[in-house]
């Protein structure tokens, strides 16, 4: 028997108070297997011990919500007896240590969360953040992560349709890889993880268990230091082919209506799936690890319980249905093994090689899990005045610098490595405000987006929290869909620091206000804390994955100018808010002051109005104004079909008008024949707008300056290739 020493307890990330509680509850010293189980279940990653208190404050309900947080993924009603199932999850720490496998298994994990609920995955999105471009590891991490995401999703045959990429020094030693998956299921065919039926079989399916990923959840809950690369063996290795087989086998079995409960083995592997399934059913579970299919010889109970080998599922079946399931899994050449039974003891009992390795009351693991209301400090964020050193420079020459900067240039290099067209349902390709995926057997589409604005959150967490939700909502509005709900991936630093907890609290408060106001509840999510290296935390990064419904597949909008001589209208007021803009960050290199404020009243009013114009087929070209401001937005609208613009502007401070990032704004282009009607409606509703000019073929004209669309496009599209071909 391994002696449980203080050092061993510490290595498992268990605090002294937590260990005392374990001793008291068990009334004895834990075995090493039990210590491992506590360590995994009580890790920040699995227990949400620092964030639970705050997450509970977010709204999670609406008329559309079928399942909110607490299951493998959230579920919303999309009508026609169909439901959309979605979630976003982080895989930050593994991706920094081993970018290809870390990112690939991040995608694999989120896919399983979706199909374990009975939904066929229909789209993937991802939000990835790297250090500054001059950092020695950025190229290596960028290329590894992108090929890892592609490697997994492409092989699975699920299109990767959207996302975002950011470079910022705050991620120099702690990149972020957040993957989101959206699936579609029949509304009455959703599968849950709550076990039921004493005596029912606990069945293991999928790949074999190996020694990879042991303690992944604990690693993901600790800060990094210079020796983090030594942790490489804790990164799991992905096998998308096995996952594809697992997907098809599960889909085939789910048609049979015999699964009582199912959950994937994700973070903390067999431990968390067994504990959560039995716990939700208020039952006990007894496992015999001799029956777990293992990849390696002589694996201990500790290793089997904590392995994070990928592509595995746990399900509950009635014993007389085992054969039906077994036949299907054998057809797909996957392991199938009955590894235990449900009991009425409310205990987790682990047997291995004729020895009892663990015996824990489930309540202690679940309800006994620590929950901390960590102290936090709210900073007072001050406004400051920005010195614009480019007041004499011409706007189009500034535009060229902006559009050729790492955070505004085209992401084509990234998404061309992802199969974004497989399944032939992708109605809007990547590179727009939101993607749209058709839903088979209906005339509907699902719109989806993944977005965050960490620099706003760092400079005012409350306003930043509001903004990230509002922007996701705006993205879904821009394509003409009804925003329904969000998933969130909360990436923050060390919660034991008051300032970081202050950021977390502020962002949650802001999100809560926006979610409530916009009727845009949170249905699933994930928290990733301790994103720090050598004591320096990342910018607070709440990534929002929004999902909406396009009611009629033939009526939607995209962001690209399609004709010349369309009128260009700006919906919403422009005050010229420059602090915390991309202009300030990239060109003025000055990160002071407050982010733009989100006026939720205007947000709602302007957004619903734009959506109405799209749904009435009065407009088909809409882009929300976000990073980079107005001029960047209309330039992004120009480059796809080579329709530029001719605008005349007389403004006192032209730069702040063109590059300010005031919220609740959209650019729309209106055909001459519809202009009168659109103007009438705008005036009738009292919505602020400006008609700034018209679209023209091939050229970009601003007052007395002129350039070709082609010139701008070259700058826009070549940044990644140029950057990656430079010798580092």
């Amino acid at each position: 028997m391994t002696k449980i020493t203080k050092e061993l307890v510490k290595e498992h990330g268990i605090s002294k108070e937590e260990y005392d509680f374990i001793l008291k509850s068990l009334n004895r010293e834990p075995t090493i297997t039990e210590l491992g189980i506590f360590s995994a279940m009580w890790s920040e990653h699995c227990s949400y011990k620092s964030s639970k208190y705050w997450l509970k404050q977010l709204p999670t309900n609406s008329d559309y919500v079928i399942q909110g947080p607490g299951e493998n993924a959230g579920v919303i009603d999309i009508g026609d007896n169909y439901a959309a199932v979605f979630k976003m999850e982080s895989h930050n720490h593994p991706s920094y240590i081993e970018p290809y496998q870390g990112a690939a298994t991040g995608v694999g994990g989120i896919l399983r969360d979706i199909f374990t609920m009975g939904a066929r995955p229909v789209a993937l999105l991802n939000s990835i953040r790297f250090g500054e471009i001059s950092h020695e590891k950025t190229k290596h991490l960028l290329t590894g992560v992108v090929s890892g995401i592609g490697g997994y999703g492409n092989c699975m045959g699920i299109p990767t349709v959207g996302g975002e990429v950011e470079f910022n020094s705050s991620y120099n030693d702690n990149i972020l890889v957040n993957a989101m998956c959206v699936g579609v299921a029949k509304k009455d065919k959703i599968f849950y993880s709550k076990a039921s039926g004493v005596g029912n079989s606990v069945v293991y399916v999928g790949s074999k268990t190996g020694r990879d990923g042991i303690h992944g959840a604990t690693m993901a809950s600790a800060e990094f230091d210079d020796n983090s690369e030594d942790k490489r063996p804790t990164v799991q290795v992905g096998d998308p082919f096995s996952e594809k087989l697992l997907l098809e086998a599960c889909m085939e079995l789910m048609k049979m209506d015999i699964i009582i409960a199912i959950q994937d083995m994700g973070a903390a592997g067999l431990t968390s799936s067994a504990v959560e399934m039995a716990g939700k059913g208020n039952l006990g579970i007894e496992l015999n690890l001799d029956n777990v299919p293992c990849r390696e010889d002589k694996m201990t109970a500790y290793e089997i319980m904590l392995s994070e080998s990928q592509e595995r599922m746990l399900m509950i079946l009635e014993p007389d249905k085992e054969e039906i399931a077994k036949d299907i899994f054998e057809k797909w050449e996957l392991d199938f093994s009955v590894i235990g039974r449900l009991t009425d003891t409310k205990r987790l009992i682990i047997n291995h090689k004729k020895e009892k390795k663990a015996d824990i009351i489930l309540d202690i693991l679940e309800k006994g899990a620590p929950s901390y209301q960590r102290p936090y400090k709210t900073k007072v964020y001050k406004d400051e005045i920005l010195k614009d050193k480019f007041t004499r420079e011409k706007p189009l020459s500034i535009l060229k610098k902006m559009i050729g900067s790492p955070n505004l240039c085209s992401r084509k290099w990234v998404w061309e490595q992802y199969d974004h067209m497989v399944m032939t349902d992708t109605m809007l390709l990547p590179g727009g405000d939101a993607a749209i995926i058709r839903v088979h057997e209906t005339n509907k589409g699902l719109s989806m987006t993944a977005d965050s604005t960490p620099r706003y959150c760092a400079s005012d967490p409350f306003e930043g929290g509001k903004q990230v939700v509002a922007e996701a909502w705006r993205n879904l509005i821009s394509v003409g869909s009804q925003p329904i709900a969000i998933t969130d991936c909360m990436n923050f630093g060390n919660p034991e620091k008051k300032e970081i907890m202050g950021q977390f609290a502020g962002v949650i408060e802001g999100m809560k206000e926006a979610c409530n106001f916009l009727n845009f509840p949170v249905v699933s999510g994930n928290v990733s804390l301790y994103n720090e290296t050598n004591g320096k935390g990342i910018n607070p990064t709440p990534v929002i994955g929004g999902v909406g419904v396009v009611k009629n597949l033939s009526v939607f909008a995209d962001q690209f100018f399609k004709r010349d001589d369309d009128h260009i209208l700006i919906i919403g007021e422009t005050d010229g808010h420059l602090t915390q803009s991309i202009y300030a960050h990239e060109l003025l290199e000055c990160d002071i002051g407050l982010p733009p404020r989100v006026d939720l009243n205007k947000e709602l009013k302007n957004g619903l109005f734009v959506k109405e114009l799209i749904c009435k087929s009065l407009i088909d070209t809409v882009h929300d104004i976000s990073d980079g401001g107005l001029l960047v937005a209309i330039s992004e609208m120009s480059m796809k079909y080579n329709y530029g613009f001719d605008i005349k502007l007389k403004k006192r401070d032209l730069n702040s008008y063109l590059f300010g990032e005031d919220q609740a704004r959209y650019v729309i282009s209106v055909e001459e024949k519809n202009l009168k009607k659109v103007r009438y409606k705008l005036e009738e509703k009292g919505i602020y707008f400006e008609n700034i000019g018209k679209t023209v073929k091939d050229f970009i004209i601003l007052n007395d300056e002129q350039m070709t669309v082609k010139e701008l496009k070259n700058i826009y599209e070549n940044w990644f290739n140029n950057y990656l071909s430079e010798a580092s």
Binding site: F241, Q417, V422, M423
Partner: protein, 229 residues
């Protein structure tokens, strides 16, 4: 009229191609599991795209040895039309039904985008609905689409008009800058000597609907459906 769509472990364009042919033609798709040893009665066989067996060995090499392939090879030799798309093309070269091989893209990464290809030979049952030299827009999505053959093989397929599609630019010009993956002579699709087995890297099934707003793949399926009567 029936079209067998072969499903291997790791096929992922099987549904897409079945949906397309059902929509455009009067062919009825039947999904055939790779472990079957005889094809159901079919007028056409489609080997769809995907990552059969994970492409962990050379792409298509394991699938080329699946039980169903024996019957497919036998019937191909008797003239049954076979269409291999993307991974299906790789399976056809691995099984010896088509010459040449497909190696890693010269950019060394996966590429998914809409490209232009030129119809080089419209005198086949797969391409007779196109005009000769017609430029069509069609998506590609592959990691190993770089067609290669030795000089003798290449000369043979060129002389016999077996090259059906080549990558080109929007003006139909065939050059290095219009070659997405490094394929020799910009080859995107070839046919066998008998004219009944076609392999192509681009995905015609992704260019058959108002969802993608691409329609240029429709004529391939229409050509097939009509010539089967």
């Amino acid at each position: 009229m029936k079209a067998s769509v072969i499903v291997f472990p790791g096929s992922n364009c099987d549904r897409d191609v079945a949906v397309s042919i059902k929509k455009i033609t009067n062919l009825d798709p039947i999904m055939v599991w790779h472990k079957e040893t005889t094809l159901p009665k079919s007028d056409l066989v489609i080997i769809p795209g995907g990552f059969t067996f994970g492409d962990y060995l050379r792409c298509g090499s394991i699938a080329a040895n699946s039980p169903i392939m024996i019957d497919i090879i036998k019937k191909a030799k008797k003239g049954l039309p076979i269409l291999g798309i993307c991974n299906g093309f790789q399976i056809l070269t691995e099984s010896g039904l088509l010459p040449g091989t497909l190696i890693k893209n010269d950019c060394l990464s996966f590429i998914c985008k809409i490209v232009s290809i030129r119809v080089e030979n419209n005198q086949t049952s797969f391409s007779n609905k196109y005009k000769k030299n017609e430029i069509i827009n069609i998506p590609i999505a592959h990691n190993e689409g770089n067609f290669f053959a030795d000089n003798d093989t290449l000369k043979k397929i060129e002389d016999a008009n077996q090259i059906i599609f080549r990558y080109c630019n929007v003006n139909g010009e065939i050059n290095n800058s219009s070659n997405p993956n490094g394929s020799i002579k910009n080859i995107a699709g070839i046919i066998n000597e008998n004219g009944n087995v076609l392999g192509m890297m681009p995905h015609p099934e992704r260019a058959t609907c108002n969802i993608t707003k691409l329609y240029d793949g429709e004529n391939l399926f229409k050509s097939l459906a009509e010539s089967l009567f």
